[in-house]
Structure formats: structure tokens, C-alpha cells
Symmetry: C2
Subunit: 430 residues, 2 copies
């Protein structure tokens, strides 16, 4: 059964992920060959700094000319683990033009240009796989694309950024503030020197765009994703969440509207019940919760980043793409046939946890409640706490649109008796 001519793999990038891919391709060559039905051979490794010692990567395979590598014409699969938009985008399209299929771990590029890349792959009859782009090692894209292909996904609720989950988990378990928890994450290597992409939700938003696109068979671009970071989450928010049996997570949420006619995608911190399976996702782990018509509630859990886990996802794709190549076929391409409109954030319907600083005098609650009623936002629970002539009101609403809630908050700010809106947080997963 075994074909003897090896499949040739070009590796673009040899950092944390790439070097791990190269290592496993060498150490597990026999297993990979048996699973694919033919040996795979590392045919070239494109890097920026050729001088750096790369254990296990033969020096003669290393090149700084990535373009020449993808143009060689004898490459079966290009593995792109450079990240970023360029030169990755051009290299991938060049690879298709020169007969290679592509495995990528590039969430930013897929979120921005997924449709064009899929079109290029299809035009050349090649595969584009990118399991590693979302939630590292966790099999997620394949299950959504294939296992749930006979089902209707209604909601995807995910912890897809390990750095922010580490910080929020630390705040939750130790009572630390945001800055203190971020400092610890940085010291332990969970946060980068510039943590913006993580803590402001850019990384999660890219993953939300990819997940929403696959889940709803609809093109969802990064620009379509509403994004709020988690830098404003306070120890007081956690205390308030705890009193109500909830915790706080930075979530990527992709939803089909109740009438089925549109979808939304968003990233923001949210309170979820402690009993929700996502609530017990600790440290830098990722997990994605999927709700569908027939399957019900599913969850996929695992390490969302790191060299080895990401390499595991890359190699799973590599095996699949090599198998497709041997049998002369391609796997499922882009599925965007549903082409549902992506609604703006104002249309999202959910519940809200609002903390107000108010004057401690009679009639304040009545005033506040009137404002909610005037905007059609129904109140579920109110908790009032007095302190030194001032008081705080913690209000949890029933389901209301983001637009209605926004109008409510604007009107609340104009009340003389409302000193300030201390926090507004969405309540999900109930």
C-alpha cells in the first residue's frame, strides 16, 4: 500500500511552532508515513535569520528566500507558521499557483482574507487547512466543518485566548486587580511585553470571525466582530459576580438570531454562571462551547497556544492534506452558501449586570426603575447597598437589545441622583 516517493513539505517560519513541527516530522516520521500512506519529507525551511541554530533542522534545508521555496514546483504542502498578513498572504497564494496545498496557523490572515484565500485554493484545486488558527491544539474547525455538517449550529461561546483567561482566573481566585494579574502573567510568560492584542480582544476577535464563518456557513470578517477588551474588569466586578453565583470570562460569542435570519459575532468580558462548563476553564486553557439544534450542547477543551499544541493541530492538518493529495481529491472548502447578514452589536439581545453609584436617599430606585421601563428594558433583580451617604445599585436585567441597554445607560447618566455608572457587563450562558 505504501507509496515510496515522499510528499514534500515546505515550512515557512521556524519559531516556537515551526521548530516543533520540524521536530515531530523527524521523530515521528514512521508514524506519519503509516497514517498518510506515503513518507513525508521536509524539503525546505524558510526563515528570516538563517544564522540561528535550529536543533534537528538540517542547515542545507534552511533558506531566507521563502518566495523561491514556494515556487519550486515540487512542493506538495506548504506549512505557513509565520503569522501576520504579509508576506504570509502572498506566499500562500503563490504556493497555490505553483501546485501546493497549504496548512496555516494564521488567525489574523484567515480572519481578514479567508474568503480570498479559499477562492485561490479552489481555483487551483488545492486544500487550505487551518485548525491551528483557532484555539491551538483543540480540534474545533474540523468538528464544526465536518462532524456538525449535518446539524444546525445556533451559538458558539468560547474562551479562545489563554492570556486573558489566565489573568481573569487569577483575579477570580486571588482577588487581585487587573494590573497585578497582568504583571504575573507577564512574569510567567503568559502575556507578551505588549499585551494589547490579547487584553484588548483583537486576537479573540479574529478567532470569532473564523468560528462564526464556519459555524453559520456565512462570510464573517474581522470588521464584523464587535470587540471590547477586558482591561476595565475590576476586583469589584468579580466580587459582584460571585455574590450572584457567577464568574467573569472574556468570551468570543457567535450567535444566530432567534428568527434565524442573521448572525452576530462579538468579543467582550461577560458574567457566566459558575455552573456553566466554561466557568471551570482555568489558567491559560481554552474551551469552546457549541450549541446546535440536534447535538445540543458540546464543549471542546484544551491548550489554546504553545509550540507543541499548535504543532499537533498543524500536523493533523498536514496528514489530512497529504491523504487528500494521494487520493487526488480535496477536503471541504469554504462553505458560505447561507450568506446570512451580519447584524450590528445594537441588535444583539442578552442580559446585563449594571452597577450604579447613586445618592442614598428615598426615591432613587423608583427613578432608576422608570428609566429602565421607558427604554423597554425589564429588570430581573436589584441589589442595593448603602455606604456613607452614597449607595450602590446592582441591577441585572432580563433579555434586551444592546441598543435598548445603551439608551437606558445614557439616560441613567443624566439623572442627578446617579453619581456614576461603575460597570456594565453582559450576562451570558444562562
Amino acid at each position: 500500500m505504501m507509496r515510496t516517493r515522499p510528499l514534500k513539505v515546505a515550512l515557512l517560519g521556524c519559531g516556537v511552532v515551526g521548530s516543533e513541527v520540524a521536530r515531530i516530522m523527524t521523530t515521528h516520521a514512521d508514524d506519519l508515513a503509516a497514517r498518510i500512506g506515503a513518507p513525508v519529507e521536509l524539503a525546505g525551511v524558510a526563515v528570516r535569520r538563517p544564522g540561528k541554530v535550529r536543533e534537528g533542522v538540517p542547515a542545507e534545508l534552511v533558506t531566507t528566500d521563502a518566495t523561491a521555496l514556494v515556487k519550486r514546483g515540487d512542493i506538495d504542502v506548504v506549512v505557513e507558521v509565520i503569522g501576520g498578513i504579509e508576506p504570509a498572504r502572498t506566499l500562500i497564494t503563490t504556493a497555490f499557483e505553483h501546485g501546493a496545498s497549504v496548512v496555516s496557523a494564521n488567525k489574523a490572515l484567515l480572519a481578514q482574507d479567508g474568503a480570498a484565500l479559499h477562492a485561490a485554493a479552489e481555483a487551483h484545486g488545492k486544500d487550505l487547512y487551518y485548525e491551528a488558527a483557532v484555539a491551538g491544539a483543540i480540534p474545533l474547525i474540523r468538528p464544526l466543518r465536518e462532524s456538525l455538517a449535518g446539524d444546525k449550529v445556533n451559538r458558539v461561546l468560547g474562551i479562545v485566548n489563554g492570556t486573558t483567561n489566565f489573568i481573569l482566573d487569577k483575579m477570580d481566585t486571588t482577588g487581585a486587580g487587573y494590573q497585578e494579574a497582568l504583571d504575573e502573567a507577564t512574569a510567567l510568560g503568559y502575556a507578551e511585553a505588549d499585551p494589547t492584542a490579547d487584553v484588548e480582544g483583537f486576537d479573540a476577535a479574529a478567532k470569532a470571525a473564523i468560528l462564526a464563518g464556519i459555524a453559520f456557513h456565512t462570510r464573517v470578517r474581522l470588521d464584523d466582530v464587535h470587540r471590547e477588551g477586558m482591561t476595565e474588569v475590576t476586583a469589584a466586578d468579580f466580587a459582584s459576580a460571585k455574590q450572584m453565583g457567577r464568574t467573569i470570562k472574556l468570551l468570543a460569542i457567535c450567535e444566530r438570531a432567534e428568527d434565524g435570519g442573521s448572525v452576530t459575532a462579538r468579543v467582550h468580558p461577560a458574567m457566566i454562571p459558575l455552573t456553566h462548563p466554561l466557568a471551570s476553564v482555568r489558567g491559560a486553557y481554552n474551551a469552546v462551547f457549541v450549541e446546535s439544534d440536534a447535538a445540543g450542547q458540546l464543549m471542546f477543551y484544551g491548550p489554546g497556544a504553545g509550540g507543541s499544541p499548535t504543532a499537533s493541530a498543524v500536523l493533523g492538518d498536514l496528514v489530512a492534506v497529504c491523504r487528500n493529495r494521494l487520493s487526488g481529491t480535496t477536503g471541504p472548502g469554504e462553505s458560505a452558501y447561507a450568506a446570512l447578514p451580519v447584524s450590528p452589536m445594537g441588535d444583539v439581545v442578552t442580559r446585563y449586570h449594571i452597577s450604579l453609584d447613586v445618592a442614598d436617599k428615598p426615591g432613587v430606585l423608583a427613578q432608576v426603575a422608570t428609566v429602565f421601563a421607558e427604554h423597554g428594558v425589564s429588570i430581573d433583580t436589584v441589589r442595593q447597598q448603602g455606604k456613607d451617604g452614597e449607595a450602590s445599585l446592582v441591577i441585572v436585567t432580563h433579555r434586551a437589545s444592546d441598543a435598548a441597554l445603551g439608551g437606558t445607560v445614557e439616560a441613567l447618566r443624566k439623572l442627578d441622583t446617579v453619581r456614576g455608572v461603575a460597570s456594565i457587563m453582559r450576562v451570558e450562558g444562562e
Copy 2:
């Protein structure tokens, strides 16, 4: 892109799962056609009792002659949801002989005859898919077979039977005994009138055989799986587990030996730490925890049974098989190239929680500890409790082989001072 000739599907069995498959094939016909690239048509439904009203299944499609249906020659995919060994086995092989691929939800058959069925599929160039056979809607077989195809799986630890998880969860949360919890499970429809297959671990053992085979690329038959039921688990065991920060689950455990040279598969109740992700799997839910070299720790969670969830898995397979058929290829078949030996239970190495009733007098602990030492089983912790002249000793060991532990217990039973061995339970997931 859309081919107009529909793919023809024959459905064998129209019970809880089959009727749901038929319903979704009708209500979601357009989605399925878009995802497959061609319409799919229900061409025939084989049932035992043709008179039963089946909503949404046209009467003219119903037949009692399953053999004639699979022999028709124009059937593209046979969906087998009858269960049991015969006639399912003969119908599936007949289907391959007459040109159809097969999607099955039949765990018992796959566990017993998976190798022969895979060989038949391969001989005829057809697909055999069975995601629904293990853990219902949870995508598990596809992730293990495909997503982790570039990784090395070392351990699979799963709650793969919803009935027993419901019973154990009830005992855990309410303090109920086994019989009381079973009665409630029966009343609520979670347990069958004869719960033997569930509570004695037969159902989980079939799934363990299938999972071990796929995870280790090795044939593992039902007979290779060590099986212990959970009918002996007591409220006292839960109390003892709780004192040590653990709970009790019925687990299917598939392991690669530390030297990599052999594998084991087993089903038995086990104590796991409350902090383990499997500990918070409640009610009738299933979850499977996978440990691999590169990906690390992954978990897949969801409903493990029921008509709709199982139908979701069947339809995901149906889409994949139809797509393969359209592109003239087949998906990954059996992968048994590693052909590792399956070791007996005595070779399994784990930790143990042993509860002894002993005489409450000096020197007993020394005697007991000597027996452990003589058998090379090292003790981690001992807890001693006196009650009315008798005492109980709760001992947790370090890692030891099942054979060594068995020898230890046999010797303990011979001690005059040991009145009885109240319980022995393995400790996993630490």
C-alpha cells in the same frame, strides 16, 4: 457546482435515532444539499414493525425487507441504526458488496467485529463511518482519527455512559445509595428496565475497545477490555472520596504503557480529583479526556445519547461519506499499523484507595503496612478511624501494578486483625 442527481440513502432502523435522522434529512434537505454538493434522498427505510406510524416518513419508503433494500444496487449510503450484532453485521457487509458506503451507530458490532467490517469496506472501496457509536453527538472519532493524526495519544480517559454518570452524580450530590439513585434514573428514563449493559460496564467497554483501537492504531477487541461495573459503589465510598478531595466516576481508560510497547483498555469505577475536568461532568453528559504528546490535555464534552444528538453524529458522517462519494474517494479507513500487544489488567499501573475494617488494637497498622511492603506496594496516605472496638483504615497507595495490588489484598484478607476489605477503588487522573 451542484450535481442534480440525488445521492440515495437507505435507513436501517427507524426508532429513536432513525426517525430523527429521517426528520432532519427532510427538514434540512437544502442545507445538507449545499454542504454535500448534491441533494440526498431517503430511498428506503427498513423497519421491523411496518404498521407503526412514523411521522415524516412516507409510507411507500417503509419496508420490512432490509436485505432487499441494501441489495438494490442504487443505494449510495446505508445508515445502520438497528444496533446489536445480527442482522446488522450481515446487512452492512451486504451493503458493501452491493456498492454502498455505510454509516453506523453500532458500538457493540464495531467493538466486536470492527476489523472485519473495515476489511470488507476496504475490499469494496467503500467508507465505514461510525462517529455515533461512541459518546453520541460528541465529535470524538473524527478528532482522534484526523485532528490528532500527527500526534501520539498516550491516554484516553472517558465518561462514555450517561446512565451510570447520572447515577453516580446523583449519589455524589444527594448522598443517595446505588439502588435509590438507580430507581430515580429508571423513573426519569435515563436507565432501561434492565440496566445491566450500563451498570455492569458492557456499554462502556465496547466504546473503550473502539477508542483504544483508534487512539493507538491497534486492534483492540471487546474481549481485550477489562470490565468492572459500578453496582458495588456505596455512599461510604463517596464520603471517603470527598474527604480526600475526590469524586467517583465510571471511566473507560485506554493507556499506552510507559515504555510505549503495549496498551491496555479497561472500564471500572475510579476516584478522580475534584479539580479534574471530568469531575464536573454532571447528569447524563459524557466527556472524554485525551492526553497526547504534543497537544497535551484535551477534553470533549456533550450529550452521550438520545435521538437528536446521535442523529447529529450520524448526519455529520453522512455528509462526509456523501462528499467522499462525489469526489470518488474514501476517508481514512482502519489504522491498525502499530499492532501493539494489549496487556492484561495485571500489568496496569495506577494508584488505589483501599478501605479496611480492622481490629482497633495496637500493632494493626504495622501488620497491614508490612503486607503492603512485602508486595512492593508503597503507601501514600493512611487514615485511621475508630468505632466501637473496631476501626477502619483508609489507605491510598502510590503507583503499583494491578497484580501487585491483587496480591496485597489477598494477603491482607488472611490477617486475623483484618475483619474485611470494605472497598478497593482505583485512583486516576492525578
